[in-house]
């Protein structure tokens, strides 16, 4: 598999605080890589490093196979666009002027691509209105348009839907999917809104304490998030005996509750329990979400 970004033992320390601690990750080409972690886990720090805003304390990363220590890294960066934390736009300029400014920075000879770019992000009708007067969603979309000005192959988005209303979230999601499917842009996206991320990502990286704790594809995650039947009974020891007899995988949660990881015949199970004097009180089908997978993976401890 070809990778756009590979990090090797990347660390970033701020005095005694280890923001990144020997982080190793790989972003496959053409993927939408969901970068998941709690506040302070190191997501934004990693993004700052790969954007060249900060230098790593140790370790290295490679963009399109070019090592961060090589001179050519500057040339390779021309192939990426990023929105780090807040959209990087001049608030006293209009959307069009912001794009003209970025076209100059990139050395794009003609401003001809600006109307198309504005249309792509849905800002074609903003005219001379200054970015200062834009809604949060519009600013976010303008930030993405600026990041797209250089026609990048790799787009880095840090919390792009933070603070957006439901329609704003849908607009950004559709834009990201469009960019990935139609323009084959690889996207690295960090987000706290896990349900939203689950609708986009083809790959996931879970970060905690500055380290990647798990990296997997959406397909692997789906397999890991097993469907189960949560049952409530009067005695789980009796339930365990009955399930053992049926050869079914299960997990006892408490004296009266258990998860059963198979499709069982409820009547059969009820009859088996009844025979041993145990009652089946309820049965509910459950799906493990990305959120519960994340909580199980990094623990449900306190957040910063």
């Amino acid at each position: 598999m070809e990778y756009v970004l590979v990090t090797q033992g990347l660390s970033k320390h701020y005095k005694d605080f280890k923001a990144l601690d020997n982080l190793t990750m790989r972003v496959p080409k053409g993927s939408i890589y969901g970068f998941v972690g709690r506040n302070g886990a190191g997501k934004t720090t990693l993004i700052r490093l790969i954007c060249g805003l900060q230098a790593p304390t140790s370790g290295a990363y490679a963009l399109y196979g070019v090592d961060s220590a090589q001179r050519d890294i500057a040339k390779v960066r021309r192939r990426m666009g990023a929105v780090v934390e807040t959209p990087s736009i001049y608030l006293d300029l209009s959307a069009e002027d912001n794009l003209k400014e970025q076209f100059r920075v990139l050395g794009v000879p003609s401003d001809g691509g600006i109307p198309e770019l504005l249309k792509l992000v849905g800002l074609e009708g903003t005219g001379r209105k200054k970015a200062r007067n834009f809604s949060l969603g519009m600013k976010q979309r303008l930030g993405i348009a600026v990041a797209l000005a250089g026609d990048p192959d790799f787009l880095v988005l840090d919390e792009p839907v933070n603070g957006l209303d439901p329609q704003g979230i849908i607009d950004i999601r559709e834009l990201i999917l469009k960019l990935n499917r139609e323009r084959r842009i690889t996207v690295l996206i960090s987000s706290h809104i896990l349900d939203e991320l689950a609708k986009l990502a083809t790959h996931y990286g879970f970060i905690d304490g500055g380290r990647i704790v798990k990296e997997l594809s959406a397909r692997e995650l789906e397999a890991a998030c097993r469907k189960c039947l949560r049952v409530e009974v009067t005695d789980t020891r009796t339930l365990a005996r009955a399930l053992d007899a049926m050869g079914v995988d299960y997990k006892i949660l408490s004296d009266g509750q258990a998860d059963v990881f198979a499709q069982v015949n409820i009547s059969q199970l009820s009859k088996a329990l009844d025979a041993e004097g145990c009652e089946l009180l309820s049965a509910q089908e459950r799906d493990e979400s990305l959120e519960s997978y994340f909580v199980n993976l990094v623990g449900g401890g306190s957040h910063d």
Binding site: Y14, R48, C51, G52, L53, Q54, A55, I73, A74, K75, V76, R77, R78, M80, G81, A82, V84, E85, T86, P87, S88, I89, Y90, L91, D92, L93, D97, K100, E101, Q102, R104, V105, L106, G107, V146, A147, G150
Partner: protein, 276 residues
């Protein structure tokens, strides 16, 4: 760096702050000429364009001190500096492009002031009396001094992530340097001898015999004071605005040294700075 300069000049063209400061510089030039002309009308003083033509040198620091942090500090506060670095521009190129742009803006402010002096001053109080060589020396020296101011304020702006903080630092800095220059000027201008007054026997007040002034600086102290006065861009401001300088080449060398020192230190700090 040409791409960065192109982007900076495009933003300068669209900046209300730039056009406002340019208009202010023009207005200040016109105001100075009219004030001199009224002094001539009201009190009959002989006035010449020489006394106002280099007046901008006096306020070059005060004009650029808020302009540079407010214009370039926006790149930090709005985060737009990230757009330049993320696409592969080096920090040194970003720093120098901003320094060159700030100097170009300062030169435009100076030119607006001179234009006002030419348009308003020449019809009212006549042309310059200064010889061409002195005019050229004062103009050239003022430009190098302006570059020194730009280097100092660019250093502060590029290494401070908060626009308001860098604006306050630059303004406080320029006024502190101005006070220091005025103090040094006062010490250097102190007369060598002072003459008191005495009351004679018949009640008449007569001049006393001149006595050495204890505040008069001599030897090493005078040399150090003179060096600092020449080194400080604000000290040069006073000298150029009064057209009262003896060695313009030395002043230019010192201003160039200040420019190089602040640019070197500023670029080095910016190169190592963790940006957010």
């Amino acid at each position: 760096m040409t791409k960065l300069l192109g982007a900076n000049f495009l933003r300068l063209k669209k900046s209300a702050l730039f056009w406002g400061t340019l208009a202010l510089s023009f207005g200040f030039g016109a105001f100075m000429c009219v004030t001199r002309f009224r002094e001539h009308l009201d009190y009959g003083f002989a006035v010449s364009l020489d006394s106002v033509f280099f007046g901008f040198a006096m306020v070059a620091g005060i004009v650029t001190a808020p302009f540079i942090p407010l214009f370039f500090g926006t790149e930090h506060s709005d985060g737009a500096i990230r757009n330049k670095l993320t696409v592969g521009h080096s920090r040194i190129a970003v720093y120098f492009a901003n320094l060159i742009t700030s100097f170009a803006a300062a030169v435009a402010f100076f030119a607006a002031y001179l234009l006002a002096c030419a348009a308003v001053g020449i019809p009212l109080i006549g042309a310059l009396d200064l010889p061409a060589s002195a005019t050229a020396a004062a103009l050239g020296g003022s430009l190098v001094m302006t570059a020194a101011f730009c280097a100092i304020f660019t250093c502060a702006t590029m290494n401070c992530s908060k626009k308001a903080v860098s604006a306050v630092v630059c303004l406080l800095g320029v006024f502190t340097l101005l006070l220091a220059a005025v103090y040094l000027n006062g010490r250097l201008d102190a007369p060598e001898f002072i003459t008191g007054y005495e009351m004679s026997i018949n009640g008449q007040v007569v001049n006393a015999k001149p006595e050495p002034n204890p505040a008069y600086l001599t030897g090493m102290k005078r040399e150090v004071c003179q060096f600092l006065y020449d080194l400080l861009p604000t000290g040069q401001s006073i000298q150029y605005s009064n057209v009262n300088f003896t060695d313009p080449v030395r002043l230019m060398e010192l201003a160039a040294a200040v420019c190089a020192a602040f640019t070197g230190a500023g670029a080095m700090l910016f190169w190592r700075k963790d940006l957010k």
